[in-house]
């Protein structure tokens, strides 16, 4: 048991932190958001040249060969800087989809392009009316004349408009809600029949509502096993959730620092407001939430690699549940303790608060993950208190 990073991980942490400090301050980030491109081309190339787009790419394909812990390191730093780049969409979700289930050809072609920053991916898994349920797939794909024909709609595809390639879940059998019968496909957004309505999210990222009208893709666009796509979707989303948990911890840490500093400098009634016990205790509660969140982000980062899907699910959902609530608490209190200043667009505090709220909503909020946690728990046997007496020594 240890909580130390390896030398490589420390170097990774150092390089991502330094890069962001130099190239991604709050003003730069504001410009990137204002440009409405959905990402910062300079920043993205910078990340590529540092090798950060290949963190989850195996070494055999020229990447860093990282996993949950490396993702956590990167995302915590991204959280502190409110990075809006499509890193989770492409370098976590897209990448792990291909690494886990891609054919040799798909890997050999796509992974180097993704690591170099030439190609960005986004995943279109959720549908209107399906809330967070990954099995509510009404989009259909049928094989006809050697091509897959895809029809349907996808909801709030984050970074969908900047993606060079989409990964779309579609039903090849069964009904919406069935665990079986889901398959994944690469879809080029430039393909005829693909339509997207692009819009900003309140946290500064951008997304699309996508629809597919009999979109024709080649037969080798299938990823993984036909009809058996749901476990892969869940794995990929769990990796994204673990990443967002770490990002949330970065956001909370930043809010803690800013709020503590504000309490030490803001004067009212002739003293720094941090002298007031009501505010001190509130800050301590924020710290307790942040430390509990940090622990859960670590647990998620480690367990997301578990080959035992039940263990992975339980840990990831527990983390998302706790971090959803913790992030909301820390965010709300950070605004409260900043008073009127916390309400302004000018200060970064509100932007962290909005990002934390968006993280809670993405891939299932606290309630949704509490449900999933309970389901994972229900599958486990209850504690047994009826051990045989004979094993025990008498008094």
């Amino acid at each position: 048991m240890d909580f130390d990073f390896t030398q490589e991980q420390l170097l990774l942490q150092d390089s991502v932190r330094k890069f962001l400090e130099k190239n991604y301050d709050f003003d730069t980030r504001r410009e990137i958001v204002a440009a409405r491109q959905g990402f910062g081309p300079m920043a993205w190339q910078g990340l590529a040249s540092l090798g950060l787009l290949g963190v989850n790419v195996p070494e055999s394909h020229g990447g860093f060969g990282g996993g949950g812990v490396e993702t956590m390191i990167v995302m915590e730093a991204f959280g502190r800087h409110l990075v809006v780049e499509p890193w989770v969409a492409s370098a976590v979700m897209g990448t792990s989809c291909i690494v886990t289930a891609g054919t040799d050809d798909q890997r050999n072609y796509l992974l180097p392009l993704m690591a170099s920053g030439e190609m960005k991916l986004a995943c279109a898994f959720l549908e209107p009316g399906g809330r967070y349920d990954l099995s509510r797939v009404a989009t259909t794909a049928r094989l006809e004349g050697g091509f897959w024909h895809i029809s349907g709609s996808k909801a709030v595809v984050v970074h969908g408009a900047v993606a060079d390639l989409l990964i779309v879940s579609a039903r090849t059998a069964g009904q919406p809600g069935d665990a079986e019968g889901i398959s994944l496909f690469f879809v080029n957004p430039g393909e005829e029949g693909v339509e997207g309505r692009e819009f900003p999210l309140y946290d500064g990222t951008r997304a699309v509502e996508a629809s597919f009208h009999d979109v024709r893709v080649s037969s080798d666009s299938l990823i993984g096993v036909q009809d058996q796509g749901l476990p892969l979707v869940e794995l990929v989303v769990d990796r994204a959730i673990a990443a967002l948990c770490a990002e949330a911890v970065g956001c909370m840490q930043a809010l803690m620092e800013r709020t503590t500093e504000y309490l030490k400098t803001r004067q009212q009634f002739g003293v720094p407001i941090g002298r007031f016990q009501a505010l001190q205790h509130r800050m301590v509660d924020m710290l307790v939430h942040t430390e509990q969140a940090r622990s859960m982000a670590m647990l998620a980062a480690l367990r997301v690699e578990s080959p035992d899907a039940a263990q992975r699910r339980k840990a990831v959902s527990a983390a998302k549940e706790l971090i959803g609530r913790a992030g909301r608490f820390v965010g709300q209190q950070a605004v409260q303790l900043h008073g009127g200043m916390g309400m302004t667009e000018e200060l970064d505090v509100g932007h962290y608060v909005k990002r934390l709220q968006a993280i809670d909503t993405q891939f299932g909020d606290a309630d949704w993950h509490l449900d999933r946690f309970v389901a994972a728990e229900a599958a486990a046997p209850l504690p047994d208190f009826s051990r045989p007496r004979s094993k025990w020594k008498k008094l």
Binding site: Q280, H281, V284, L287, Q292, P383, W392, K394
Partner: protein, 398 residues
């Protein structure tokens, strides 16, 4: 980064597990798990079994008769003992005064008291709080006047846990006047059989006798019972408070209590279904479980730092705040789980020699009393508000 124990730690865990399995009496573990009232003997039986193995003082160095375990080994020991339903080690001798005597006591004090703590010959109690000095402990008024080779002690201590069993008390007394209130406090070891010591029970809202008032009237204490230097008692008291704090989270015991809560909730029925399947109740259980999962990691983070020689500072306060909140939630949910059978109040039914019938399920009998009793955990050991003050000052710098 990983959460797995090393092969050596796993081997250690198996050794502890094997020992606990074969030596913890079944009847005793059932009493612990089912929240029966524990007698003095119940604690002593287990303490002596541990002593036979050299494990009665897990945090002590080898030179003083401890096993010399590191923080992680101590954690593993706690986990195994708690999971099996062993009675907790009474902290006053082993975890509180023992380390102070090791660090600041004279060789004569070490030779006299430490072996008696290890063997449980002496039951210790803590003479800290006074009627006028709770959170503001340093304002204490109990006086010790030096007359030749003795101190004459006068004053009153309160909330003295299990003083009714105690042979010895470590006591903060005022030996000097003037200056800061933290100065002039000394750390005395008082024989509870000394003339002038009287112990009066305080019955708590659960109806139990756990804490006491201790009156000290012209109690003569030999000067060799002064620990360290006169007037330095506050330093030793603070050392004591910072020692062995990682266990303060109570994670191991809360894990066992969570399992027992699930057992109860699965045994209770609600509208023809198991209570545990009632989504409203299940959510409450799961929220506590998730908080406990997080606290376990937070605790391990502190332990790992401790293993590398970084003593826990104000982090222990975070563990105390969250740990006690979880402990209280668990008692609350257990009481809720049994519905109307939380109401009957038959205190004899959770003690020894109860031959009567239970009203409702046996596990329900002590749950309400336990819920009321556990309101104490956010008050004792420095109230959670004091812990927040400590964190605000020492970690946040406010």
């Amino acid at each position: 980064m990983n959460l797995d124990f090393t092969p050596e730690e796993l081997a250690f865990r198996d050794e502890v597990r094997g020992f606990v399995r074969s030596h913890l009496p079944r009847e005793l573990s059932l009493k612990v798990i089912e929240h029966k009232r524990l007698s003095k003997d119940d604690y002593l039986v287990w303490q002596r079994i541990l002593h036979g193995r050299g494990w009665s003082a897990p945090s002590w160095p080898r030179a003083f008769g401890g096993p010399g375990w590191n923080a992680v080994q101590r954690h593993i020991f706690d986990e195994e003992c708690a999971a099996a339903g062993a009675p907790p080690i009474i902290a006053f001798g082993v975890y509180m005064v023992g380390p102070v005597i090791i660090a600041f006591g004279s060789p004569a004090q070490q030779a006299k008291y430490l072996p008696r703590i290890l063997s449980s010959e002496d039951w210790w109690c803590q003479g800290y709080s006074e009627p006028g000095s709770g959170s503001d402990l340093a304002s204490l008024k109990t006086r010790a006047e030096r007359r030749g080779d003795t101190y004459v002690v006068n004053g009153q201590k309160t909330w003295t846990t299990l003083a009714q069993y105690a042979d010895m008390m470590f006591c903060l007394v005022r030996t000097g006047a003037g200056g800061k209130k933290q100065e002039g406090i000394s750390f005395l070891l008082i024989d509870m059989r000394s003339p002038g010591v009287s112990v009066r029970p305080i019955i708590t809202l659960d109806g139990e006798h756990e804490v006491n008032e201790v009156w000290l009237e012209n109690v003569e204490v030999p000067v060799e019972n002064l620990v360290g230097e006169e007037g330095r008692g506050w330093t030793y008291a603070k050392f004591l408070l910072s020692h062995e704090r990682s266990g303060i989270a109570g994670v191991s015991r809360s894990k066992r209590e969570l399992a027992w809560l699930k057992h109860i909730a699965a045994s209770e029925t609600d509208g023809g279904h198991r209570l545990i399947d009632n989504p409203r109740f299940r959510d409450k259980i799961s929220r506590v479980e998730i908080e406990l999962m997080a606290l376990e990691i937070t605790n391990l983070r502190v332990l790992a730092a401790e293993r590398e020689g970084k003593p826990p500072g104000a982090e222990a306060s975070i563990l105390k705040i969250k740990g006690t909140e979880i402990q209280q939630s668990l008692t609350e949910l257990m009481m809720e789980a049994v519905g109307p059978y939380a109401l009957p109040h038959l205190p004899l039914s959770w003690g020894d020699h109860w031959l009567g019938e239970h009203v409702g399920p046996a596990y329900a009998a002590p749950l309400a009393a336990r819920y009321f009793n556990y309101r104490k955990v956010s008050i004792y050991g420095g109230s959670n508000e004091i812990q927040r003050n400590i964190v605000a000052q020492q970690i946040l710098g406010l």
